[in-house]
Amino acid sequence: MGNITEARKAVVTRILEGEGQASQEQRKAAFDNAGLPEPLRTLIERVAKHANQVTDQDVAAVEAAGLSEDQIFEIVVCGAVGEAVRQHERALAALEAAARSG
């Protein structure tokens, strides 16, 4: 578990705080799936909640709004990691509660 905690932290720290072409604010908003303007909001909501429903149009709309492919790459990665990390945290908390209640 300790190794996974560290590995997860390394992924999150790199994508949110390291160098990137999208701003740190954009990356954090995508990670949190909160506070993004359209059309990014629609794209990242789909990435987080039902990624297999992302369409070519969702991505084209974000490109048309002026984002580069590298910025889209970074922002989508942040959206995917953010949702997966939240699920992981909820599940670990549920396990902790189950273990405590015996």
Binding site: I4, A7, V11, A51, E69, V76, A80, L95, S101
Partner: protein, 193 residues
């Protein structure tokens, strides 16, 4: 692949590697590899370390069990590339492809142990509903999985809840069975590093 940079925007080194893989294996490099090789310091390198730890690090679960978890989570997420890729690895690891297909077809009747069945059920609920509660976890513990095993399973879920989303968002191409078989051999021999 939806972004052209992920398809063909790699640095010189990875491009040479892709050409060599194609030459020696006769298979095109799959999109999962292209993703982790694009600007690898941003995502690929740290994510490969996480995935390798989850899938090949020390655990009471076998490699086959963890690959089956990856395939099962991918099935719930509806990610065709990852279902096929990790079904192939699990089938090869178990030397029993029928066990994998039976599990994906009907978890309740699959020929697997109760701790694994309960763990897969919980991972499926987490992927589908984005949360689980203490009662779900008590059911897994009651089926005989240890707390450490549940934590290890959740690490697999973490890795594939990221990877599945990116496979779908970037629309990974789904190749034929030969490519997945070659990929499965590679992942069993080398892992995810």
């Amino acid at each position: 692949m939806r972004l052209s940079i992920l398809d063909s925007g790699h640095a010189f080194g990875p491009k040479v590697m892709f050409a060599m893989i194609r030459l020696f294996s006769g298979q095109r490099v799959v999109d999962a590899v292209k993703l982790v090789m694009y600007r690898p310091d941003f995502y690929g390198d740290p994510m490969k370390r996480l995935t390798h730890e989850a899938m090949r690090g020390p655990s009471a679960w076998s490699v086959g069990d963890r690959e089956l978890m990856a395939a099962y989570v991918s099935k719930v997420n509806g990610t065709e590339f990852c279902i096929k890729a990790h079904s192939a690895v699990a089938g090869r690891a178990y030397q029993d492809g029928a066990r994998v297909s039976a599990t994906l077809a009907d978890l309740d009747t699959a020929p697997i142990g109760e701790p694994l069945r309960a763990t897969l059920r919980m991972l499926g609920k987490l992927a589908r509903e984005h949360t689980v509660d203490a009662g779900d976890m008590r059911a897994v513990l009651a089926a005989g999985a240890s707390r450490a095993q549940i934590e290890d399973a959740l690490a697999v879920g973490l890795a594939f809840n990221v990877t599945d989303r990116l496979a779908d968002a970037f629309r990974f191409a789904v190749p034929g069975p030969k490519a997945f078989d070659a990929g499965a051999k590679f992942l069993l021999a080398r892992g995810y590093r």
